[in-house]
Structures are given as structure tokens and as C-alpha cells.
């Protein structure tokens, strides 16, 4: 088998694509302020920004509680100066909200804020709502969440996991949010998106309905510049921007970032992001976040680390799945791109071969088409990569360790 890992030309091309605009950021936020905060008995100076037209003043890093079942970690985050706890109706089957409820019990209501999320049944392949996605169901879930949290209102309630512009303005959700606002159960209406983010963010601005957007945004996103532009437009419209998935890249699991602090700081260099809610489950991770909260400025070394890592992301399919509709031969292109990633990024031929063999590919995949009908959203030469990686089918397994 002829081995050519990444051709030099390909490498240069993909590296440039990965780094494109990475550090071409606007200057840091002018609308930020530094506030002295008592953090576990010590005085620390944390950077605060205002969450758009909501007027809420928040530290630039808060806690994504999502995977934490540790009440003492949440207590420590609040005692250290974080204010906003980010959770959702569905996290840990509801136990996440209950854990928060046990921590905030007895604390002054103005000493913390809560952002929670409610989702309704969606068609997984289209991202559109199903018939049962009703106002009543949305409000029923909100009431359960308030009960678990032990509060009569949350500061932000997000319309959870939206990936299509049509879903942004799903009438039953808008009605539910309006009713909840009137009844004082939520202060601000938000929307969260971690797939097809630019479309959702633009539709949110156009809807003129929402106060806050929670959006996946990180230095490894291939469509980062589109996300950045959409965020800028939303911030300009007065919408509060909360960043998520600053360390992990959304709907795919990236290899661990070399510097979590640098990844967080990268998002905060964008003045249009008002706060971020990274998840943490260990005290040392919280301490990293607190250090960034004191000084979110990227160092030169951190910039170099980010550039190096961003160049690697060009090996990763972003999972937009648009290719599935385009391929004339109905090949499972995202799976094949994953196999390519296993081969060249992970250097795990066994994993790649297992995947290729499990796909039941036709013989001579891609050989029959004179011109590839797939226009990859991140510019992969899909047919070349497929032709390359399907050769693993013919390698005896025992030669692959």
C-alpha cells in the first residue's frame, strides 16, 4: 500500500484553512469592566461584561453545571465569584437541576443567576419540530425545572438545541416563552444552538423575539468566521451572547485541547461575547477558569499553541452532513471522513479499517464518477480522501496493529 499521509501541498492548504482568521480578532471589549470580588475570602479582580440589552452584569466566565453532580463544586464556583449557573431540563435526567437546587437553597436570590433550557420533540434528521412540540409541553417542563431548582423564576430560559431557522420561530415555543415571561417565571428568553449556528443566530436576530443567544463558538470550528459574523450582528442588535463549547468542538469530540485557558481566552477576545459557560467537574479546572476570569488576555505562547492546534482541525469533518444529499452514489461520506481522520490524525489504522469495513461500501467507491457531485462545506476533496482511505479494505487485518 502506498503511504502518503498528508501531501505537503494539502498540508499547507488545510493548515491555512484551519488558521484562517484565527487570530484576526477585533480588539478586546470596550464595554467590559473590572470588579473587585471576594473570592473565597480573598479579594480578586474579575472581568465583567454586560449581557446585551438584558443589562445583566456578569463575570466573563460562569459555570456550565451540565456534568457535575458535586454540590461542593457548585458551591465553590459561587463562593469564588461566578454568578450564572448554566443547566437544562434534560441534563442528568433532571438530577442536574436538583443538585443546583440543593446548593442555592438558603442563598440570597440576588447572589446567583440561573440559565436553564427546555427542548421539545424534534425530527433528528431535519431539526424541525414534531407535532407534539406544544406550548403546554414546554410550560410543563419549565414548571418541573422550577420545582427541581426550588425557585420561582430563572433569569434566562433557553429554547434548547435549535438547528434550523424554521424552529427559531416555532410558534408554540414563542407563545410559551411569552406566557412564562408574563407570569414572572423567566426574566429573559434565550435560544441555544450548537449546529448550523450561523443560520440560527441570523434567524434569531430577524425574529426580534429573543434576548440572549447561547452559541457554540471555538477556535477549532471550520465555520468559525461565519459564526463570528453572526454573533457580531446579534450583539449589534442588543442580544446578549453567551458562548459555549469553547474547549470542545460542538457535536464532535475533539482531541483534548493543549491549553484550556487559551481556548477560553480565545473566545473572550471577541468583544461581542459577553460571557461563557464552560463545564467543569474538577476544582483544578475551576481554578483555571478563575485565573482566566482575572486576566483573559492571550499570551504570545498561547496564540502559538492555538495556531498549531487550529491547523490540525483541518483534518476533521465538521459533520454538517450536507454531502449525504449530494453524493450520487449515496456513500456515507461523513463516516468515510471519520475513517480518514482516524488514519491521518489519530494514526489508528485498526480503528479506521474497522470503520471502513463496517460501511459495506460498493467496490471501487468513487471510481465510477468522472466528477464528484459533493461540494464539501469545509472544502475537503472528498473523492480523493475516499479513494485514499477505502484502500484499507484490501489490507489484511493482521498487518494492522
Amino acid at each position: 500500500m502506498k503511504r502518503h499521509l498528508i501531501g505537503r501541498r494539502d498540508f499547507v492548504k488545510t493548515t491555512l484553512a484551519g488558521c484562517g482568521g484565527l487570530l484576526l480578532l477585533p480588539s478586546e471589549a470596550k464595554a467590559q469592566e473590572t470588579k473587585s470580588v471576594e473570592s473565597k475570602g480573598k479579594e480578586r479582580k474579575f472581568v465583567y461584561r454586560t449581557l446585551g440589552k438584558t443589562g445583566l452584569k456578569l463575570p466573563v466566565i460562569n459555570m456550565g453545571v451540565m456534568n457535575s453532580d458535586n454540590p461542593n463544586l457548585i458551591k465553590a464556583a459561587l463562593d469564588s465569584g461566578m454568578v450564572l449557573l448554566d443547566t437544562a431540563h434534560g441534563y442528568m435526567g433532571g438530577r442536574n437541576e436538583e443538585t443546583i437546587g440543593s446548593v442555592i437553597k438558603g442563598r440570597p436570590r440576588d447572589s446567583f443567576m440561573i440559565g436553564s433550557k427546555v427542548s421539545l420533540p424534534q425530527d433528528r434528521s431535519t431539526g424541525l419540530y414534531l407535532e407534539g412540540a406544544t406550548t403546554e409541553e414546554f410550560l410543563r417542563k419549565l414548571d418541573i425545572s422550577l420545582k427541581r431548582l426550588g425557585v420561582d423564576h430563572v433569569e434566562i430560559l433557553y429554547h434548547h438545541g435549535v438547528s434550523r431557522k424554521e424552529s427559531v420561530v416555532h410558534e408554540p415555543v414563542l407563545k410559551a416563552m411569552e406566557k412564562a415571561k408574563k407570569e414572572g417565571k423567566i426574566r429573559f428568553a434565550g435560544i441555544s444552538t450548537h449546529m448550523n449556528e450561523p443560520e440560527v443566530v441570523h434567524a434569531t436576530v430577524d425574529s426580534k423575539f429573543y434576548d440572549v443567544i447561547l452559541v457554540a463558538y471555538n477556535f477549532q470550528q471550520q465555520h468559525m468566521s461565519e459564526v463570528r459574523s453572526a454573533i457580531a450582528r446579534a450583539a449589534q442588535a442588543g442580544i446578549g451572547i453567551v458562548g459555549m463549547k469553547a474547549i470542545r468542538g460542538g457535536h464532535r469530540q475533539t482531541p483534548t485541547v493543549q491549553s484550556a485557558a487559551a481556548a477560553l481566552k480565545w473566545v473572550l477576545q471577541d468583544p461581542n461575547v459577553h460571557t461563557i459557560v464552560p463545564g467543569f467537574t474538577a476544582f483544578e479546572e475551576m481554578e483555571t477558569d478563575l485565573a482566566v476570569l482575572e486576566n483573559p488576555k492571550l499570551t504570545e505562547d498561547e496564540k502559538k499553541t492555538l495556531q498549531k492546534e487550529a491547523s490540525l482541525t483541518s483534518l476533521y469533518c465538521q459533520g454538517c452532513r450536507q454531502c449525504l444529499k449530494q453524493c450520487r452514489n449515496h456513500l456515507p461520506v461523513p463516516d468515510l471522513m471519520r475513517a480518514y481522520m482516524y488514519t491521518y490524525a489519530y494514526r489508528n489504522l485498526a480503528l479506521a479499517q474497522d470503520l471502513v469495513l463496517s460501511l459495506n461500501l460498493p467496490n471501487h467507491a468513487c471510481e465510477d464518477c468522472s466528477q464528484c457531485s459533493v461540494k464539501c462545506s469545509v472544502g475537503f476533496n472528498v473523492s480523493a480522501k475516499i479513494k485514499d482511505v477505502v484502500r484499507l479494505k484490501d489490507v489484511p487485518s493482521e498487518f494492522i496493529g
Binding site: 473565597k40 451540565m66 461542593n72 414534531l130 449546529m195 469530540q253 476544582f283 474497522d354 498487518f399
Partner: protein, 309 residues
């Protein structure tokens, strides 16, 4: 491509050929054994059930640790922490367009499946007798079955919701094989004051410390006091010594010698913690300020540990 790299130097050609054949045979055997034991092979033999009045729609979807994000997005982190290996998803519909989705998550061990199940189970859950244990709520039924965590969700099923969920649960359980049991170590938590069904397995970063790799714990409520008992099982004594040594360092006691016995630590994040180390186990009490009650619960805990020996 040749397999020269695998061959030992200095062998005659005939010997080399024999060795080459042997290596191929070993590779083949390992490959077959590997595939038989892999979750993918288990998945291949698993058959989603037929339920009266319901039709399976679409293909069965499969997700592995690299693709779980496509299905549950950020929720995948928690499942990965519990050594998730594979997810199979089947969707059903009836004539009225009501829908049921069956998710079968397979984890590396039954303890890890218990762990993720215990993270999502509420102590006040409406328990049902399916698999090792299960519970049902409106539009959802979850249960534990060996190394599988099964989650069934319904949609637009009307007043028959729970009956439908149960029918699916029984069908799935009937096709999954040996149901297994709770990890035996959960029996060492004393019954007095224990919050029913509060036992958990924390797979990583117990107490928020990466050096405490995993632990079992249970919640207690006694005379209005809420506290937690926990037990950590080390791989061996050296593992326990390492964990304890790092914990002592964390709380500023790095000069204390690490020997089996009792410890009282003043932890900046958790307050005062009493714990004991013996053999391959470290156990302790969290969030309990009353020294008398702590002593009582250590005695009860140790009695149970003795019984379990």
C-alpha cells in the same frame, strides 16, 4: 505490503515461512475472538423487539464514542466518562403516528452502566421491575440491564403511555440476555438513615479531584442532617497509597506519612472529612460535622464491610 517487521531476524527461510503462517493464524484467531467479544458483535446479535400495534421505522442507528455527540451532543461527555462503548437506536410508530424511541447504551462494564444509570435516577423515582432496576415517568422509561443502560422515550402516546413504555421495556429486556445485578459493593452502605436508591458510582474525579479516580457513594438523612458515605476501591494497595498521598498533599499535609488507618482532613472545598484506609479500600464520610454521629456511622460502615468480606 509485507509483514517483515513482525519477523524475527536470523531465521532460515523455511522457519520464516512457518513463523509467518503462525503469525497469520494468531492474527486470525485474535481477530475472530476480538470480534466476538466486541460490542459491535453483541449489537449484531441483538434484535429490537416486535411490539403489537407498532412498526419499526427507518434504519437502526449506531453511535460509537466518536459519534455519540451527533446524537446527544454535549450530554455525551457524561456517558464517555462512564466508558460508553456503543449506542443503538430504534424508532417505532403506530397507526396514530405516536412514536417510541428505544436507546440502548452499552458500557464497558456493568458497574459503568450502573454508574450512568445512577446519575440519572432520582431517589424518588417510580421504580419498576424490569432488568436490574428501572423507573418510569411521563414519556420516559429507563432501566439497567447488565452492561446496558436502556432509555425508552414516547411521544404522543396519550393515556396509554406507561403501558406502552412497559411493553417496549419488557420486549427489549427479553432480548438482552443475562440481566446481571447491582455492583455487590453497594450492599456495604448501612441501611440506617440511607436515602433509598441514592447509591451512585462516580467513575472519575470523585469529589472533584482527578487523583481520586472513582468511588461508590450513598446519601444519608439522619435527624435533619444530610451527609454522604463513600468507598473507593483501589486497584491495589499502592493505588490507595497514591490516592491518599495526593489527597494529603492537596490539603496541605504532604509531610504526613501515608499508612493504613484513620485520617481527618480539613479540605478547603469539602470541609472536614474523616476517612479510613485499609487494604485496597478507602472509605469515609462527607458533609457531617457532628463527631458523635460520624463515629456511629464509621462503626456501622465497618460492620457492613466486615460482613461483606
Amino acid at each position: 505490503m509485507q509483514c517483515r517487521a513482525y519477523l524475527l531476524p536470523g531465521l532460515r527461510i523455511a522457519d520464516r515461512e512457518r513463523q509467518r503462517r503462525m503469525l497469520r493464524a494468531i492474527g486470525l484467531i485474535l481477530g475472530i475472538v476480538g470480534s466476538l467479544w466486541s460490542p459491535a458483535a453483541q449489537a449484531a446479535v441483538f434484535k429490537f423487539p416486535s411490539v403489537n400495534g407498532w412498526k419499526q421505522v427507518g434504519e437502526i442507528q449506531r453511535f460509537d464514542p466518536n459519534t455519540l455527540y451527533e446524537y446527544i451532543n454535549g450530554g455525551a461527555d457524561l456517558y464517555l466518562a462512564y466508558d460508553f462503548e456503543e449506542l443503538m437506536v430504534a424508532e417505532y410508530q403506530n397507526d396514530k403516528k405516536a412514536a417510541v424511541t428505544v436507546d440502548i447504551y452499552r458500557h464497558r462494564t456493568s458497574t459503568h452502566a450502573f454508574g450512568i444509570y445512577s446519575q440519572e435516577r432520582s431517589p424518588g423515582a417510580n421504580l419498576i421491575d424490569v432488568g436490574v432496576q428501572g423507573y418510569v415517568e411521563k414519556h420516559a422509561l429507563n432501566f439497567l440491564f447488565g452492561s446496558a443502560y436502556v432509555k425508552i422515550a414516547s411521544y404522543d402516546t396519550g393515556p396509554e403511555d406507561q403501558t406502552i413504555l412497559l411493553a417496549f421495556a419488557k420486549g427489549v429486556a427479553g432480548n438482552l440476555g443475562e440481566k446481571g445485578a447491582f455492583p455487590s459493593i453497594v450492599t456495604v452502605f448501612p441501611a440506617e438513615g440511607k436515602v433509598k436508591n441514592s447509591e451512585k458510582f462516580i467513575a472519575r474525579k470523585f469529589l472533584g479531584y482527578p487523583f481520586l479516580h472513582s468511588a461508590f457513594c450513598a446519601d444519608y438523612e439522619v435527624s435533619g442532617r444530610n451527609f454522604k458515605l463513600f468507598i473507593i476501591e483501589g486497584k491495589d494497595q499502592a493505588d490507595c497509597r497514591d490516592m491518599l498521598g495526593k489527597y494529603l498533599e492537596q490539603v496541605g499535609m504532604k509531610d504526613k506519612s501515608v499508612v493504613e488507618g484513620p485520617y481527618t482532613l480539613s479540605d478547603a472545598y469539602h470541609g472536614e472529612i474523616d476517612l479510613r484506609w485499609r487494604g485496597v479500600r478507602i472509605w469515609g464520610i462527607l458533609d457531617l460535622g457532628d463527631p458523635g454521629l460520624r463515629a456511629t456511622y464509621f462503626r456501622l460502615f465497618e460492620e457492613e464491610l466486615q460482613k461483606a468480606k
